[in-house]
Amino acid sequence: MGVHAKPTGDAEVTTVSKSSPDGQLGSEMTGETVPYGEALIEVEGLKKYFSQSGGLLPGISLDTNQFPPISVGEERVQAVDDVSFDIRRGETLGLVGESGCGKSTLGRTILRLLEPTAGTISFKGEDLATLSGEDLRTKRSEIQMIFQDPQASLDPRLTVGQIIEEPMRAHGMLDDEGREARAKDLLEKAGLDPHHYNRYPHAFSGGQRQRVNLARALSVNPDFIVCDEPVSALDVSIQAQVLNTMERLQDEFGLTYLFIAHDLSVIRHISDRVAVMYLGNIVELAEKEELFENPQHPYTKALLDSIPVPDPRETGARGVLEGEVPSPVDPPSGCRFRTRCPRLIAPEAYDWDGEEWKRTRSFMRAVKRRTFEPMPAAEIRAEFFGGALPQGEPGRIVEEAIEFIATDHEAGTQTSGQAKAVTDEAGTERDGPTVDWEQATDRLLEAFAERSICARERPAYEIESAHGTGTHFTACHLHR
């Protein structure tokens, strides 16, 4: 027995949801104070750090190589670091990034499921970051969440009816009968059979469970929903069904979504504006068309180039990004993407000529990642610099670095003692002169990477959009 959806905008449907006897609920009243298109949520300088150590004595670490072997001081994972943006009423803000970039942490911090380390989260003019206890709890009727794993987010021991009614109960909304009626109504709106009110979650498929999650989130009539990868656990064909339902409900209930996902295709479909995250920072934020058609940050570009396009005639670049994401415990200074950025800006301290910087940069990265085998100095010069080292100071630094890693350098120039002590395995194996990758890496990074503006200043620029009228934020010094 199929349930027939009422077409979007149906007058009857709207009245049912809006006029339901929920006088106690303040959300709608206050919600109206923010007109559509105005900022519903403003996040300012938000930080979330996790302390890494746990266990018996937090903050105390043991190091047998030093005396005393116990030291105090904790390592902190900078999961979200100084993030600012706003979300406008009625829109969907897509938040995209790779695993570990902090997007889920950001979502949970905004919801105050995690305690922010610093910053403000202004929701309808009220700072969520400073709320606590009962104030925070009551506020939760206005902000809800949908989780990635549709199975794990539903208590297996409650019926879907109980699950959907739980938030209403928590906020003292309606009486028992009213709650049941509303739960059934919501089941129907979410695309499920209201007769399944008494079923347990495990009797449903993944897509259906996600609909139960939707119904639960909607039960208290929230203004804002954080959706954390809501469709990534679902098969392609089911994904589309759930996405469509989410869009329909957004129109019907006037919802604002923060849609977190790693899948750029889904983000492109559902978002109005898109924010791209990398290593705890938002690197770019723009309207959807602008971001996808006119990406300005090198990371966004790399991300877009990497997605496999379901079109065999499309033969774009892919896998353009080298290296791996650095540890969030000790992230790079300045622009966090600079260690992998294909367009790292040349340090201004030196004069560069034509291709010189490009070659130096790729040589520096190759040394740092040890992507080549140690070889005679001449071969290194030929491979990375076409035989001609850069002019002046940079050339001398490069030469020094080559000295460290060349297989034919005279052993014991400036480095003798130390270099031998930390000899690399690769070096000892081939009985030749010692090869010291670390020294070479240090020398190059110190002389070039650390002196680039990318390492010294945190980028944040607003530029003109080529598509649409909105602003385009990009955290890249190329736009300085």
Partner: protein
């Protein structure tokens, strides 16, 4: 050096537990209602003077925490007090009795491991076949039977009915054969084994049964691992998969269990030593309890608790040695 740091960490973590053991023991020993001295001298007619003298000797008139601190100070210097009944230092008594207990517990573990691991593996590979069922029933009986009763039954069968093996006492291999009147070391060894056999099985059966159950489950789980699937897909012989790939991973929980089971083994040793008349720490404990020799009881409890803690640390370190994930942080 990940392993070294890990070891140091474990030792540091054990300190509060060791302190806790002394506190618990101390509190328990002083929980006794009424006059501790009368309790100590239970049943004996003594006059007030003697009681007063003993009270002074043990400082019983002082408040509890002061007494504890004094006691702890002594413990840290290796002095576990003095047994009134035996008029000997507790440490000396313990040293004298530690050998048999260690011999018993270690041999029981050896027996348990030597039988449980192969049986568990066989059960796991022949899942739901008769071999599996038989071994699971054996394991079930093993965990359901009191160790002392196994000892009694063993004595009834092998000592009383068949007369093959002695029913009480141990022969200590570290003594000279002359002390027992044996012809030489071969006989000493032979007699050692003969005497050890029954108590070893009595104490080891429970360990064997628990280890076998764990081994079976772990092997089954390990054999379902992706890495086993991969090894199969690369043509690794089933024998190698079993002995190397699956086994190595399945051993990890076993090691933990061995450490934690030390607690039941040490408790079981008390019963086994009682049944088989073995002069170990367990018997000493029972004797001490009998005479309410509370300095001795505290000493024994602290030593056994420490043995357990040390055992757990050793197994934790061996775990870390085998499983590299413990000492190097996860990369995820």
């Amino acid at each position: 050096m990940g392993l070294l740091r890990y070891t140091a960490g474990r030792v540091v973590q054990a300190i509060p537990v060791l302190i806790g053991i002394t506190v618990i023991t101390f509190i328990l020993a002083n929980l006794a209602p009424g006059d501790p001295v009368r309790l100590m001298l239970q049943g004996q007619e003594v006059n007030q003077e003697v009681i007063a003298r003993i009270e002074r000797q043990y400082g019983l008139h002082r408040p509890l925490h002061e007494r504890y601190l004094t006691y702890m100070g002594n413990v840290l210097q290796g002095d576990l007090g003095h047994s009134i009944h035996r008029d000997r230092p507790v440490t000396a008594l313990l040293a004298q009795r530690a050998g048999p207990t260690l011999m018993l517990v270690l041999s029981a573990y050896a027996f348990a491991l030597a039988t449980a691991i192969p049986l568990g593996i066989i059960a796991a590979t022949r899942r739901n076949e008769p071999t599996d069922h038989v071994s699971r029933i054996v394991a079930l009986i093993g965990v359901s039977t009191p160790s002392f009763w196994i000892g009694i039954v063993l004595i009834l069968i092998f000592a009383i009915q068949l007369g093959w093996l002695p029913s009480s006492g141990l022969v200590y291999p570290w003594r000279s054969p002359d002390q027992y009147g044996y012809s030489g070391y071969p006989e000493l060894a032979y007699q050692t084994i003969r005497h050890l056999l029954l108590p070893m099985i009595a104490l080891g059966t429970l360990q064997m049964a628990t280890l076998m159950r764990v081994e079976r489950t772990q092997m089954i789980e390990s054999l379902q691992g992706e890495y086993v699937k991969l090894a199969r897909a690369y043509g690794v012989p089933e024998r190698t998969i079993l002995r190397k790939h699956a086994f190595q991973v399945a051993q990890l929980p076993i090691i933990t269990i061995i450490g934690l089971n030390l607690s039941t083994a040490l408790g079981g040793a008390v019963l086994t030593e009682y049944v088989f008349n073995i002069n170990g720490i367990g018997r000493l404990f029972l004797e001490a309890i009998q005479s309410l020799d509370y300095q001795l009881i505290m000493g024994i409890t602290i030593v056994i608790g420490t043995m357990f803690v040390v055992g757990v640390i050793i197994t934790d370190i061996s775990y870390a040695y085998i499983d590299p994930r413990v000492t190097y942080g996860e990369h995820d």
